[in-house]
Structures are given as C-alpha cells and as structure tokens.
C-alpha cells in the first residue's frame, strides 16, 4: 500500500490474497474486565464455543501438581444452578457435546452445538467455569476416576515418553510436571486446593471466549457481557502469578524394560518460544523431515528421505518430528518407535536428518516442505471445533489470530539459507534432551548422542 514501486506485484499479491483468504475474518473484542471475545462466522449450522484459559500445569507447584486436571474432571459434576444430572440432561437434550482439555499452559472448556443454541451454550459454559459446585462428595468420587485414568495413561507409551522428555529437559522447573500430576497428589488434593487454584488462575485477562461456526460476533459479545462481566480480574493481595523462567537442561532419562515389545525414544533440543518468528523456518524443517507410520503403507515412495529410508530398511514402526512451544521456551525434536535392534540406526539417521537441515538442505526439499506445511495448515482447519481451538490458542499466544494469508507470507519468505541458519541456531552443537522407554539397551550413550549434534566435515 505504501510501496508505489511494487504496484504491479502488489496487485498480483492482492488477487492471490483474495483467493487465499477463502475464510471469513476473525473478529476480536475485549470486555472491560479484560476478557477477550473472538469469533469467526463461517455460516455452518453448527458452532463450537468455548473458553480458553491461560492456566495449566506450568502454573502449579510440586504440592498441587495435578490440580488443573482434577478441576477439569470436577467441572462437569454440577454447578450452583445446575446440579450434575440437570447439567447433563440439559446438554444431552440440546444434542450438544461438552468437552475440556488441560495442557501445560492452556486449559479449555468448549461445547459443540447447533448454532441456534449459542446463548444456552454460553450460559452453561459460564456456569461451569465460574460457579462450579465442587462438592466434597464429588471430589472423593472423582479421585477414584482420576487414579484410574492415571493408571490407564501409563499404558500409552507415547504419552509416557513425551512426559519423561519434559521432565528431564525442564528438570527443576514447573514445565517438567506432567499435566495429570503424580498419583500421590491425586490422593491428597482437597477441595480447598482446587478452590485456591481456581481463584488464582481463572481470571478474566487470561481468558478468551472463542467461537466458530454459525455465530454472530455482536451476539456473542452481548452474551459475554451478560454472563462473564462478573469474572474477576483482581488477584488476592495483588499476588499476580509470575511465570518463573524454565531453563532447558541437556540430559537423558531411560526407563529400561526389556519385557516391552517396542522402544519409544524422543530426542529434543530447546526450541523457539511461542511468538518467535523462528517458528516458521523450524516448522518448515520439521515438515521436510516429515513423519512415518508403518501402517499407513506409504512404502518406499514417501517424499521425506528419512521416511523412505525407514520404510526400505525397516528401521522403525513410526516416527514424527515435532515442535512444542511455550511462552518463553520450546522443544524441537523427534519421536520414534522401533524394536530393540534398530534403535541405534534410527537415532543415527534422525540426527543425520537434523545435521542435513543445518548444513546441506536443498532448494527442492525446502520447496516441498513449504508446500506441505501450507497444505497441512489449511487442512487442519476442517470443521468448527479445530477453527475454534485455533482461535483460542492464537489469541492466548499471540494476542491476535494470525490469518492464513500471513502464515502463507511468512512461509513463503523462508529460504534454504534461512532454514540452515535457524536450524543451526537451535540444533547444531547443542545439548539435546533424550527420553527413552522400553527395551533400550541399544540406545547410544549420551556422550555419543551429544557428539552427533555436529559434523567434523568443515
């Protein structure tokens, strides 16, 4: 708009932008008490509306680790106006789905429903979050459920491995806690702990009311004013919780169990924090490394080099490259599942893929990675719930919803040199964190793994 010299190119860009933005605008409004309301009107007959809260296991201490998760369980057990059965019947009769999830830095309560039921949905959500009844009897009952769920999660080895990764990479800091908390806390958490947690973290400036589907923004803001104006924005004694910085420690943890059929291994370096512009080249790099699953039957003809090799030589059952970012740090890594005889090979080739990113990644690889990243970003937003989730998390992380056109521009700006530079900044010669579960005798010693984080070729 300001660059007259680039008028023609600008015109072309505008048409491309028009065709790309085949999506409606996300509108954002803030209420007086700090609550932000964001929505995207897509014209569907259904909608998803929910509250995304900037609270999670990172805000917990060793004593109350697991409180957020416990609270999520208690949320649907009744509110002051609707006791449990009434709440459940209300939701069921609307044909709606009420769900929640807790992660390390976010908690979300959301409801999928028909668009015409938006007012009722917002009302129920406001009650669930603000006026949860938290009966003593229910707390005791849910304790058993939480313990049983903790037991079941132990069987999901992917979760176990990634939790161990966080525990070792961020050891001694709140990011090392798992979201579910230890069973000792699940046995001792009391109603008082939950009330304290609620009171110190469920504050208006840290919440976003997000909606997607057949919703009208003005109507949503009106409903928010009606139901959420009472949401507190002040802390007791002005004790605003300050996030302590979480340092990354290069380290290793192994849970060896030769009775398990497969080994699950994760290796990660410190990655980019949530708002960092480096995330885009790192995501492109992960997209080039790709992922693989033996059951998907891609065979030897996958585009990712590591995947093709894994398929041909049968190195692993599955692998994926991932990047998790938190408000001031992140984890960029790879996770793979393999049998006990191929761990060393798989680790070698994974680190080789990383070195390739840092030094010799080619133009065609980067072009392919960019294309598939753009395609996956768009493909994920398939339905009102993923869109609503995207809006909620974006507003919490970036303060605004990043439109697809901007993601497109940022991804287009990535060049092979940029991928090499950014990957070197984060990966080359850095101490990784390694977590392994299963028959891991073959996993190389940490010093060997550390030594493979650089090449002596130049």
């Amino acid at each position: 708009m300001r660059y007259g010299l680039h008028n023609y190119r600008f015109e072309v860009k505008k048409f491309y932008a028009q065709s790309l933005a085949g999506a409606p605008e996300t509108r954002l409004t803030a209420l007086d008490n700090g609550l932000r309301v964001a929505s995207e009107e897509t014209g569907h007959a259904t909608c998803t509306v929910g509250l995304w809260i900037g609270a999670g296991s990172r805000y917990e201490s060793e004593k109350n680790n697991g409180a957020g998760f416990f609270l999520e369980h208690m949320a649907f057990k009744g509110t002051k106006k609707h006791p449990q059965t009434a709440l459940e019947q209300e939701v069921e009769s609307m044909g709606a789905h009420l769900s929640a999830y807790t992660s390390r830095e976010h908690t979300a309560y959301y409801m999928k429903t028909l668009a015409k039921d938006l007012p009722k949905a917002v009302e129920l959500l406001s009650e669930v979050v603000q006026h949860c009844s938290l009966n003593e009897a229910d707390v005791e009952q849910q304790r058993a459920v939480v313990l049983r769920e903790l037991e079941e999660v132990e069987g999901n080895l992917q979760e176990v491995c990634l939790d161990l990764l966080h525990a070792t990479a961020f050891q001694g800091t709140p990011l090392s806690y798992s979201v579910l908390g230890p069973s000792s806390n699940a046995r001792t958490l009391s109603r008082q702990d939950l009330v304290e947690y609620l009171g110190s973290h469920y504050k208006a400036p840290r919440m976003v009311l997000s909606a997607a589907g057949g919703v009208n923004h003005e109507e949503l803001v009106g409903l928010a004013k009606t139901h959420f104006s009472g949401l507190s924005f002040e802390y007791e004694g002005d004790a605003i919780p300050v996030l302590s910085p979480c340092r990354f420690t290069g380290s290793e943890i192994r849970m060896r169990d030769d009775a398990m059929p497969l080994a699950h291994v994760a290796i990660a370096v410190e990655g980019a924090r949530v708002g960092s512009p480096d995330i885009v080249p790192l995501m492109v790099a992960n997209s080039i490394i790709g992922s693989y699953d033996i059951k998907s039957g891609g065979g030897k003809n996958m585009s990712s080099r590591l995947a093709a090799m894994a398929a041909e030589e049968n190195f692993c059952e599955s692998f994926q490259a991932f990047h998790s970012s938190y408000s001031d740090t992140g984890l960029m890594g790879m996770y793979f599942v393999t049998d006990m005889h191929h761990i060393e090979d798989m680790m070698h080739w994974s680190q080789n893929a990383w070195m390739n990113m840092c030094t010799t990644v080619t133009d065609s690889d980067v072009a392919r990675g960019k294309k598939s990243l753009k395609a996956s970003l768009v493909a994920q937003l398939n339905g009102t719930t993923p869109i609503c989730d995207d809006i909620g998390r974006h507003v919490l992380n970036y303060g605004r919803r990043v439109p697809l056109a901007e993601w497109d521009a940022r991804i287009n700006a990535v060049t092979p040199k940029m991928v090499r530079d950014v990957c070197s900044k984060y990966i080359y010669d850095k101490c990784p964190a390694v977590a392994a579960v299963g028959p891991v005798e073959q996993l190389p010693d940490y010093n060997r793994t550390r030594a493979s984080m650089y090449w002596l070729r130049f």
């Binding site: 933005a21 999506a23 014209g43 649907f76 044909g95 789905h97 294309k371 598939s372």
Partner: protein, 499 residues
C-alpha cells in the same frame, strides 16, 4: 556445561546481535504477535448462505452422474464412487473388493507408479485415498481447487486404467495378509464381529459375503480375475463423479474430457454377469471360539426407505458405549443402554447399539462384552432391551434422541470429506441428494408410532447372533429366539443338575 560454548557469541556480541542471526537475508524479524508489514490485508469472504445451495447433478451420455456441492475454500474434495463392493462377489472369489482397495492409485496408463501419483498430487497439496465397503467403492482426492483438471484426469486413470502389475498384486497379497493378522490380534474385536454378524444375518448371500479377503483366497486373486470383475461392475452407469468445493460447470467439463470416451483397460464389453440380487435376510448364529473375554452381537432385520430415519433415531435412543465413561456430557449418557444396562450392571465392559443400512436391507445390532462367566446374564439383558424397544418410548427420550441425531448429522457435515461422501452416496443410491436441512425436517417428523411400527416389524424376523470368545455359557440359539419372541425377553429357565 557446554552451554558455555553456545552462549559465548552472546557474550561477545550481545543478545541483540545474537537474535539478528536468524534474521538474515532481509527476512523481517517480527514476532508472531505483530502483523507482518507489507502483507496486503486479506479480503475476507462473506458468508452468504452458500450452505443452503442445491447440490447440482448432471448425467452424461454414457450414464455417468456428476454431482457437486459448492463450498468456499481453497481446497476441494473430488472423487468417484462406484456401486461395487463385497456384496457383488457371489460369482467371484471373495476378497476382490479388499484387493481393489489396496491396489487403488497404483500404476496406471499415464503414471508409472504410486509415487509418481503422490508427487503429482503434492504439487497441488493433495492427498488420495480409497475405501471400500460392502456396497460402495470410493476413490477420493482432496487438493487445491486450481488443480481440478489434474485431479479428474488422475481419478479417471486410477479407476478405469489401472495397470494391475504382477508385482503390485504380490505386494497387495502381503499387505492383505498383514491386515488379516492384525485384525485377529487386535484387542478391539469390532471389525471381526461386524463381519460375523453380517455372515450370520445374510447367510451366504450379498451383504453376508466377507468384506475382508478370506485367508485362503489371497493367492487366488490375480489380474485376470480382477479384470473379469471390473468388466462387469465398473461401468459408467454404476458410477458417480462427486465434488465438493468446486463449480459444477467446471466439474462437468473435466468429466466430459476425461471420463466420457475413455476406454477402460479391461476392454469394453456389455456387462453380462451383474449380480442384481436383493439381500436375503436369513438370521442364524455364528460363534467363534477365542480366548478370555466374550463379546456378543445381536442383530435383527430392518429396512425400507421410509424406515431408515426411524431406525436411526432408535439407534440414537439406544446409544451406549464403554462402561468406564461415556466421554462427557453429550456423548449419550442418558441413552437406554447406559441408563438401563451399564449403570445398573457394572460388570459389563461395553454395550453399544449399531445400525448398518444398505439399499434393500439393514441391521440393528446391540454389541455387548463382559466376562465369560456372566455370558448368560448378558444375553438375557440384551434380549430384554430388544423387547423393551417395542414399547412406547418416552416423549423426552424421543425428543432427545432426535435432537442428538440432528446435531450429530450437522456436526459431521462440517467437514468437507464427509460432505463429499454424503453427496456421492446419496446420488449413487437414489439419484438425488437430500440437503441437510431436509433431513433434519424428516428427523423432526418421527413420532412414537413410527418407532413402534419399525420395532415390531423388526422383532418379527429371526434374530442373528454372533459371538466371540469363551462361549461355554452361551444359551442355545433356540433359547435366544424364544426370549426374543416372549413378552418380557427372559431366557427360558434351564435346570442343571451339576452347576
């Protein structure tokens, strides 16, 4: 310790310089919390009721139907649905459908191999997939809208001109064997039970034929057999080219270009042995002895076009799921199987109602699983539930089931691939598509008398039973039949001398 080394550039040049390291080449080092300058602010789409727009259908000269539904967005889903599946395999070795599913999108006349196809699709950000069921085979591609021409040409190639090379067939044989092994080893027995209940209900015909290739047929299927089958069933009158997210005229143009006069690779021949048999419900029992847990599936006959919606509502009313948790409010915790069965008998692992429907018949099943020692009680509970279905459903219960069905329908239709499948299947079976709001209206019109009518019709037919596990306590089929014809659903009393 080696963190010292990585921090030394910082110490030498300062934090700001270190950060600029990533901003090389003129890339603005702007965090994601501020908009990127120079990006033109996008012109956003406005919603103008596109969802209510009609599905447009055109029939080409060779009988192929082209159907499309417009939807804004950068991506589209286009595919070919063929009226062919395991039910048409009466005169052929069973398992052809399974093979065709695995062989889909392999080498064709124009594309030398599957990875050439995947590479072409990658240029348009696309993915391809094939799924077969008992009566339909669906080849689908999701890609960017501007790649429509390539997509339709690829589809026509994959469906009408696959090369079916020997080495591909060999690899498919291996993949099929692997999948069969996996099915048998899985802790979740549902696919096996679905096979068994269909085999029991429609003994030896159409829908009762196995959907997964039986182990001994894996080696019998080769190119000649496949060509014979394809010649009879892959003809234009049995196909629909469906698309979501594209303009109808464009799709028709591409269809004319690539699907109108293409000779299929197995040669033109007037289809002779097309199997037009109607599904014959027989009822019966199939039991398979495995270990440990015992699972049971019971089905009863259903079907005719008007009855489909009442059966769907009935299925929603029965609901059910795993005993640990329904999954939260909204996932059916007030359905009959939860209220009457799972909440009262905590020893049951699982009780769920399923509804399978085909163009001429259907099945309503209740699947339950529990410890083998309580098999007899479990069977009795299930038969009692079936009998109670014939009673008048409560007003609130019925309303709730109808609302949940409507809401589930609309929520599923948010996703473009689901809309594509809906368009394709409806046009394939009835020649037109009922729009979502029409279906919702039909659901709202279901009354208690409709439910009673379909249930009593269903209960008059012979039941079909499939059981998997340690079956020593399983009551005999005659007893189960007697229970289902009795008034209260109880099994006849047996007196045993030795317990």
């Amino acid at each position: 310790m080696s963190r010292c080394r990585s921090w030394s550039p910082v110490q030498r040049y300062g934090l700001a310089a270190y950060r600029r390291y990533s901003g090389s080449g003129g890339y603005p080092n702007i965090p994601l919390s501020s908009p990127l300058p120079g990006v033109p602010s996008p012109t956003f789409a406005s919603v103008d009721g596109l969802e209510k727009s009609e599905t447009r259908i055109t029939t080409l000269e060779n009988g192929l139907r082209v159907a499309s539904q417009n939807k804004f967005g950068q991506f589209c889903t286009v595919g070919i649905l063929v009226n062919s599946g395991s039910r048409h395999e009466t005169k052929y070795p069973s398992g052809i459908a399974h093979f065709l599913e695995k062989l889909a999108f392999s080498s064709t006349a124009q594309y030398g191999s599957r990875d050439e196809i995947l590479l072409t699709l990658e240029k348009h950000g696309g993915i391809c997939d094939c799924q077969t069921s008992r009566d339909t085979t669906m080849y689908a591609i999701s890609a960017e809208v501007k790649g429509l021409d390539t997509v339709v040409s690829l589809l026509s190639d994959a469906v009408l001109q696959p090369r079916l090379l020997d080495e591909e067939i060999e690899m498919t044989q291996m993949a099929v064997r692997f999948e069969l092994e996996d099915l048998n080893m899985r802790p979740d027995p549902e696919p096996l039970l679905t096979e068994m209940i269909h085999a029991a209900a429609y003994r030896g015909n159409t829908v009762g034929l196995p959907r997964f290739c039986p182990g001994d047929n894996v080696d019998k299927i080769d190119q000649a057999v496949l060509h014979g089958y394809l010649r009879s069933y892959y003809c234009p009158q049995r196909m629909v080219l469906a698309g979501v997210g594209i303009e109808h005229e464009q799709l028709v143009k591409c269809a004319r270009r690539y699907l109108l006069n293409t000779r299929p690779v197995w040669g033109e021949a007037t289809p002779t042995d097309v199997d037009l048999s109607v599904a014959q419900y027989t009822g019966g029992i199939i039991a398979l002895l495995v270990v440990k847990r015992c699972i049971l599936m019971r089905g009863v006959w259903a079907q005719q076009e008007d009855d489909f919606i009442p059966f769907a509502v009935l299925n929603m009313m029965m609901g059910g799921g795993g005993s640990f948790s329904a999954g939260g409010p909204g996932k059916g915790m007030f359905t009959r199987l939860y209220l009457n069965v799972l909440n009262r008998h905590h020893w049951m692992y699982n009780a769920t109602a399923y509804h399978h429907s085909y163009e001429d018949s259907g099945l309503l099943c209740i699947h339950a699983s529990a410890d083998p020692r309580q098999l007899r009680e479990m069977v009795e509970i299930i038969t009692r539930e079936f009998i109670q279905m014939a009673g008048t459903p409560g007003e609130m219960e019925l309303e709730r089931a109808k609302t949940q069905l409507k809401s589930m329908l609309m929520m599923n239709l948010e996703s473009r691939p689901v809309v594509f499948e809906d368009v394709g299947r409806q046009v394939l079976s009835t020649g037109k598509r009922k729009l979502p709001h029409e279906l919702c209206a039909l659901i709202s019109n279901v009354t208690t008398s409709d439910i009673k009518r379909v249930t009593s019709k269903m209960l008059r037919s012979k039941p079909a039973v499939a059981a998997l596990g340690d079956l020593t306590e399983l009551p005999s089929f005659e007893h189960i039949q007697a229970a289902l014809s009795s008034k209260d659903g109880r099994l006849p009393r047996t007196y045993r001398l030795f317990r």
